[in-house]
């Protein structure tokens, strides 16, 4: 059974003029992520891909709401929980411990007035009963794990003292603190230079291999998808239009929109 299954998800926002009801911005979206699988969620701005991921963790920004559908997370002992039906306390236990998220802008994920070591340790302690000292050691271990340079020395650095690449690594370390099974990564490398992007994608691949981490990778970059994903889900204007194994998607795209996306790519021909 899949680790995460989204079924017929609908997310809507209230219409601007009162009395006109709700406008759906995500409609009938269904997708799944298996254990240890990397699934690419692809679409342009406004396709609904980010909202879909936010819905998994109950983070759809108000006044938007999930108005239909189910999101099932398989449980340790068998069976599955519908995340949309969970009370707040139970959902908090899922966030971080089973599913974690990293965002495009690492600067906004961190609290600017606390050191990164403090925040990562705090994340670890939120999910496990460990002492402050142990949590601090764990924070250093996590930073090492994400190849953050000189982790021990820099635990007390503040977010603004880090470079973009370092912040992104620190954010991934913080996401791993709760030992999640699934990572939702929303455009994690879009804001990074291409050589940094290569490093971060390689890191995610390592984590997948070593920790069995599943990843839902949200991106508009089909090149990234081709290099890292097992399966791809294509969204357009709030709907899923195609789902396929990565090789098949590129070899024989079924939906006209997917074909358009592939055709529109300015491709690098010359690289051997």
């Amino acid at each position: 059974m899949a680790l995460l299954e989204i079924r017929d998800l609908e997310i809507a926002f209230p219409a601007r003029d009162a009395g006109e009801g709700w406008l759906p911005v995500v409609r009938g979206a269904s997708l799944s992520v298996g254990r240890g699988e990397v699934v690419g969620l692809v679409g342009e701005s406004g396709s609904g891909k980010t909202l879909t991921a936010l819905a998994v963790l109950g983070l759809v920004p108000p006044p938007g709401r999930v108005t239909a559908g189910a999101i099932r997370l398989s449980e340790e002992g068998g069976g599955a929980a519908d995340l949309l039906a969970l009370p707040p306390g139970a959902l908090r236990r899922v966030r971080g411990a089973r599913i974690a998220m990293v965002f495009q802008e690492p600067a906004t994920a961190f609290n600017p007035v606390y050191s990164i070591g403090f925040q990562i340790a705090e994340a670890a302690r939120a999910h496990r009963r460990i002492s402050r000292g142990e949590a601090r050691r764990e924070a250093a271990r996590l930073l090492d794990r994400v190849a953050f340079p000189e982790a021990r020395r820099r635990l007390d650095d503040y977010p603004h003292q880090l470079s973009g690449g370092q912040r992104q690594r620190a954010m991934i370390a913080m996401a791993l603190a709760g030992r999640p099974d699934l990572l939702l990564a929303d455009e994690p490398t879009t804001a990074l230079d291409v050589t940094l992007q290569a490093q971060i994608l390689e890191l995610l691949d390592e984590l997948r291999r070593d920790l069995g981490l599943a990843v839902l990778l949200i991106t508009h970059d089909l090149g990234v998808v081709a290099e890292t994903c097992d399966r791809v889900v294509v969204m357009r204007e709030g709907r899923v239009v195609e789902t396929a194994e990565v090789e098949e998607l590129f070899r024989a795209p079924a939906h006209p929109y997917t074909r358009e996306l592939l055709a529109a790519l300015p491709r690098l021909e010359a690289v051997p």
Binding site: E44, V194, T195, H220, L222, V224, A226, E260, V271
Partner: protein, 324 residues
């Protein structure tokens, strides 16, 4: 247009450290590099939007840095800039046709009706015809706004456009259209283009020649196709190998560089790239390699590279071919 030695210092930071570049009439030269490479700074110095600390910027043989304000303003009609942010670079309180007409008021003698007509012609040239001219920027999409920026830049009939990351803020599916527009305009108008970009696909589409920058210096130059198929500088090789290729069958081993570009506050000794270079040797830390000419594929001396061991780092794709 030729630039001499440019050094820009604020405190102890050298944003540009001895750069020489040429853009020929009608040619497209791409400046490629990552954050901190100095490519945006160089683009702005070229138009004297920033004042370099030393060196010359020669446009059609005349040093822009030596001109007084009035003369500089008059020259400005010959070179224009297209900015990265199509949202921030347009006045939100002006209608599109008025935004495009403004340079005409500054640089030409056209009357109001003449300016309006010319603005509409320019907008048509970039594919924004009809009633779009009366809209405000917030009523347009990102791609449309970028086209407005291009039309505005073309208004004074310049000979050179400096385009700073012209498509980076746009959705992937729209980028191709704007790139095609720029390519078409170049051909039609014989424009020279200085393209600043970290997007190698855009560079391949538009540029005749490429200059690769790292930490304020040019490390390699050459004709586009040749530089991309036969990169000589290890940084260029790594950069090219890092670009994800939209073809899952070609998941190749990449050169993943360790660490990050050093801070320009504390540049490394010798070659600035040596701490991250996969083939660095003792000489690289001790001496700074000059940008020296290198033979091109056909034996012509069109390439230059700043490395003591150019061409020795093989691209991973090639390695795989040799193995099989």
């Amino acid at each position: 247009m030729r630039r001499g030695l440019l050094q820009r210092r604020r405190g102890t930071v050298r944003a540009l450290d001895g750069v020489d570049l040429k853009v020929a009439r009608g040619e497209c030269l791409a400046l490629v590099g990552e954050s901190g490479s100095g490519k945006t700074t160089l683009g702005r110095c070229a138009l004297r939007l920033l004042e370099p600390t030393a060196g010359r910027v020669l446009f059609a043989g005349e040093d822009l840095l030596a001109l007084p304000a009035g003369a500089l303003r008059a020259r400005r009609r010959r070179f224009q800039m297209v900015f990265q942010d199509p949202y921030g670079s347009l006045d939100p309180r002006q209608r599109v046709e008025s935004i495009v007409a403004e340079p005409l008021a500054i640089h030409t003698d056209l009357g109001r009706a003449g300016r309006r007509e010319r603005a509409r012609e320019l907008l048509a040239m970039v594919g924004l015809g009809g009633e779009l001219a009366r809209r405000f920027p917030h009523e347009l999409s990102g791609g449309q706004r970028q086209r407005v920026g291009i039309a505005r830049a073309l208004a004074p009939a310049p000979e050179l456009l400096v385009a700073d990351e012209p498509v980076s803020s746009l959705d992937v599916s729209v980028r191709g259209q704007v790139l095609s527009l720029l390519a078409g305009l170049r051909e039609r108008l014989g424009l020279a283009l200085l393209l600043i970009s970290h997007d190698l696909a855009a560079v391949e589409r538009l540029a005749d020649r490429v200059a690769v920058m790292y930490l304020g210096r040019v490390v390699e130059t050459g004709p586009t196709r040749e530089l991309m198929t036969r990169p000589l500088h290890p940084y260029t090789v790594s950069l090219l190998s890092a670009v994800p290729v939209a073809d899952p069958r070609r998941r190749r081993r990449r050169i993943v560089l360790a660490g990050e570009p050093p801070s320009p506050l504390a540049p490394p000794s010798g070659c600035p790239f040596h701490p991250r270079c996969p083939i660095a040797r003792p000489r690289c830390a001790a001496e700074r390699p000059p940008l020296a000419p290198a033979p091109g594929a056909d034996g012509e001396w069109e390439r230059a590279v700043a490395c003591f061991y150019p061409g020795e780092l093989a691209a991973p794709g090639k390695m795989r071919q040799e193995a099989s």
